[in-house]
């Protein structure tokens, strides 16, 4: 599904060059559940951004399906992101003022698709928030907000769900619920890649990729 070959990512910080990723070779198959671990500065987020087509490798190649993404324009990357990838962030990033339903429907609006009321309601029910469908984010708990974010990530039927520390802002009980939700998504056929510091959750993923200093250990 995704193939990375000798991928490097170099950022410039003033006059200094920061090597966030150094020679990453990675294959992610369909329906895998992968966790990415590593200390701060290991390159986890950089890898996730490249996998999510938010960023392009400085060197090396990356294929999504059969498409080489390193030569694609920003618009083409936007399109891949819309059709194939769903994002879940540590800080949830729900739009304040919009209801649960409207938040979940946003990616469909951005991809110029009709708001499928039935489908969106079904997704919200699936994450257990049917009774909160008209609520705004400030009326939800952290765990509930993350469940809304997961429903939002799924609304365009992506092949891959990328979760950046999805339980980082949650207590252990809510972390478990979110993990179980991601696990259930994997069970129904989604490919999940999750960056986490939570050792307990790491052990429950199918495969773990450990990063250090921009390299896979």
């Amino acid at each position: 599904m995704i193939e990375l070959r000798a991928v490097e990512k170099i950022y410039r910080r003033g006059s200094e060059e920061v090597h966030a990723l150094r020679g990453i070779d990675l294959d992610i198959g369909m329906k895998e559940f992968i966790s990415i671990v590593g200390p701060s500065g290991a390159g986890k987020s950089s890898l996730l951004h490249i996998l999510g087509c938010l960023d392009k490798p400085t060197k090396g190649s990356m294929k999504v399906g059969n498409v080489n993404v390193e030569r694609l324009s920003e618009k083409e990357l936007d399109e891949i992101r819309r059709r194939k990838i769903g994002f879940v962030f540590q800080q949830f990033y729900l739009m304040p003022g919009l209801s649960v339903f409207e938040n979940v429907s946003l990616p469909r609006i951005f991809s110029k698709q009709k708001t499928d009321r039935e489908k969106i309601t079904e997704l919200i029910s699936m994450v257990g928030l049917k009774d909160r469908i008209g609520h705004t984010p400030n009326q939800l708990s952290g765990g509930e907000m993350q469940r809304v974010a997961i429903a939002r990530a799924l609304v365009n039927d992506p092949e891959l769900v990328l979760a950046d520390e999805p339980t980082g802002n949650l207590d252990s009980e809510n972390s478990d619920r979110i993990f179980e939700l991601l696990k259930s998504l994997h069970d129904v056929g989604y490919t999940i890649v999750m960056v986490t510091h939570n050792k307990d959750l790491v052990s429950r993923a199918d495969r773990t990729i450990s990063l250090k200093d921009g390299r896979i250990l």
């Binding site: 992101r81 819309r82 769903g86 304040p96 990616p107 951005f110």
Partner: protein, 387 residues
Amino acid sequence: MVFLKLALKNLKRHRTRSLLALFGIATSVAVLFSILSFNKGFEKGLAKELERTGVHFMVVPSGCAHEVASLVLHGAIIPQFLDITVMDKIAAMDGIEFASPILVAQLPNPQKGSVDLIYGIEMSKIAQLKPHWEIDGSAAENDHEIILGSEVAVHMRVKPGDMLSYPNVNATFKVAGVLKKTGSQDDAFIYMPVKTAQMIFKKPSGATAIGVKVKDPISLAMITESLSEKVPGIQIVTMNQVMNSISSLAASAKVLSLSIAIIAIIVSAVGVMNAMLMAVFERTQEIGMMRAIGASRFDIFRIILKEGMLLTISGGLAGIIISVAGNDIIEIFVRKVMPYVPSGDMTRFDAGIAGASLVFALLVGILSGLYPAWKASKVSPIEAIKG
């Protein structure tokens, strides 16, 4: 629709800041709307007032056109007099419907301790010269009957049938009628037959001006040209010239007030831009998230631009409401500070001007939103999400 809702919600998130920016726009649009409405009302009122004079042109002694404008509109006193024989020459010309002398002068009133404004007019021509007049009582039927302007009548506390004496000129007049309020300068005069006025002012053949009405307005230019050639020492001022003369006097005030309104709008547009730029900087992460979940740069641009448009359109609407609500106050203020304002409502609501002001507000919104929207569309999703 969701973009619009999003824009509205974003504005509501920073209520005070949005309200302050909106207040700035509302104030400047209110000023602009009031000025445009007033200008339109002023020109309409002026045209109406000139139409009410019932003549096509005035013949006066050679002098300043502004004095003539004052004469027509204020009944001003011009120190020079025309010889009434001029009138016979005018009346003898082809195409003249009538020519009527007017004598305007001040008459001290020792009984009331005031100086009264006398307007000598041919009473038989009142219907033509002052077609809009409504008189309580009757028109003056002989040389010793007068008509009082409504303000004069109130001030002197006289009513139709009362007598008014001027011992200084050995004259006593019967008040035949009192003019119903016209809202114009007509309310401040005492109208008497022109012959009586000539007698008491010792100008047996003098006239301040001669009002002339032609049979066919199309031949106006030809008649005035030929009259200038035939009668030396006179000045002919058509009602259009009076209107232009007054309009040109008002034009500088108009330019100044419009400049102030434009400056106010520019200042408030900068306020809107500032408020929106701050909102964009504060929402960098949110914008990055929207980019990550599929929003294109153009989507972000549109959302931010809509915020600016929403802000200025609401401000524009509020401004128009403020201006309409304050119409009476604006009118009183303007009438106090301006040397001449025609009668009638100057600041009446005009849908065309309201529409134009809203379109202008919208344009200001677009212009002031362009830079913040462009800035937001340049936000990198990775940098934003990294925080």
